[in-house]
Amino acid sequence: MDKTLPSPADAVAGIADGATVMVGGFGGSGAPIELIHALIDRFLATGSPGNLTVINNNAGNGQVGIAALIAQGMVGKIICSYPRSTNSRAFIEKYQAGEIALELVPQGTLAERIRAAGAGIPAFFTPTAYGTELAEGKQIQEFEGRPYVMERWLKADVALIKAELGDRMGNLTYRMTARNFAPIMAMAAAHTIAQVSRLVAPGEIDPEAVITPGIFVDALVEVAEPAQEEALNRAEVHYP
């Protein structure tokens, strides 16, 4: 079994127009910059994929990664908890121009909906957002005298994630808070693509230390010394 691919370009080659794409990362940590930029390269060369639905905690920062994807007009909809950041101009401009749709989801509900998709749970009840406008139109049910909101699983066609170590069977570890949404997105997407900072042989990752077992990963590509979104933005890098 060998899930490795030679380059980010190969890894993202199959992502279709209109696809729902989960992208790992929270703030500047964990964003799979090279995979996202490979997707932009493909779009610039071929005009595809467009009209993507992107699922991430944020809506991009600065002018790299998801922000660059949005700036290119590749994103039709964002599902996130916090689209308003220090520099989320790319999103805000499109949003205010009515060129991008937004589904705002509380962060814990976003995480749990993604996890539910990966775990085969089509719906669950949460206290979060009860009585607020984010629960409008949703089924409410009481348990033990307390009201809860029914939330649905959130699936994706593709997940793009960044990991630290990976083996060709797809087992992954992460680096500190770069872990964030990646393990659950890997579970929830039909096709999970991981960029790993170092590819190792199966068995080199201690079975106790595997965070994402290979069953959740479909393709991986080594990107040694990957870019760090926060560092790029502090250097005011634009992509492309």
Partner: protein, 227 residues
Amino acid sequence: MTQEPTEKLSNVQIAWRAAQDIADGAYVNLGIGFPEMVARFQPEGRAAVFHSENGILGFGKAPSEGQEDWDLINAGKKAVTLNPGAAFFHHADSFAMVRGGHLDVAILGAYEVAQTGDLANWSTGPTGVPAVGGAMDLVHGAKRVAVITEHVTKKGQPKLVERCSLPLTGVGCVTRVYTSLAVVDIEEGRFVLREKLPAISFDDLQSLTGATLHCPGPVADLIVPEL
């Protein structure tokens, strides 16, 4: 009822046949007991990754006697070893793999399988102590749920039936049945015969089966080596 023919596949031979349909790199869960034998017969050049409910992906053969570590067991509580690339995880993550549709194949035993794909394999009725384990989860999780079983019970009763008489494990979940006499798919609520032992006639096979066997396509000979 026709008497069961003396020529039939042994359990290991049924397990061998089931193993031939497992692709290289497939993620597979094998039920406790008889289905566990399937792991022994992976075709040359193919390596499946075996999942165990109690939190392992990528376990390997049993250790030699005296080498067991009882903290490294499978769902059948048997000692196992690890293959390179194995991973441990907790029970909720393990069943997320199952329920979330991440397994390619689950192979289970059966008391009865109905032409609708219903399976009964956990309870023989209201007497005794009931126990279900992970069977009800597995039938709804794997992309393909296969059953391996004798074609008839020890008393000669069909195990492939129109409707299960025993308590169900799952509804409409089984897609293929490997028996001691045949390979039968379940498609659109009916049994479709794919392979049968050359020594048994279609009519005899039908008489040992509790529901109509359909043959929309060719029926291949079920040929299994001596094992």
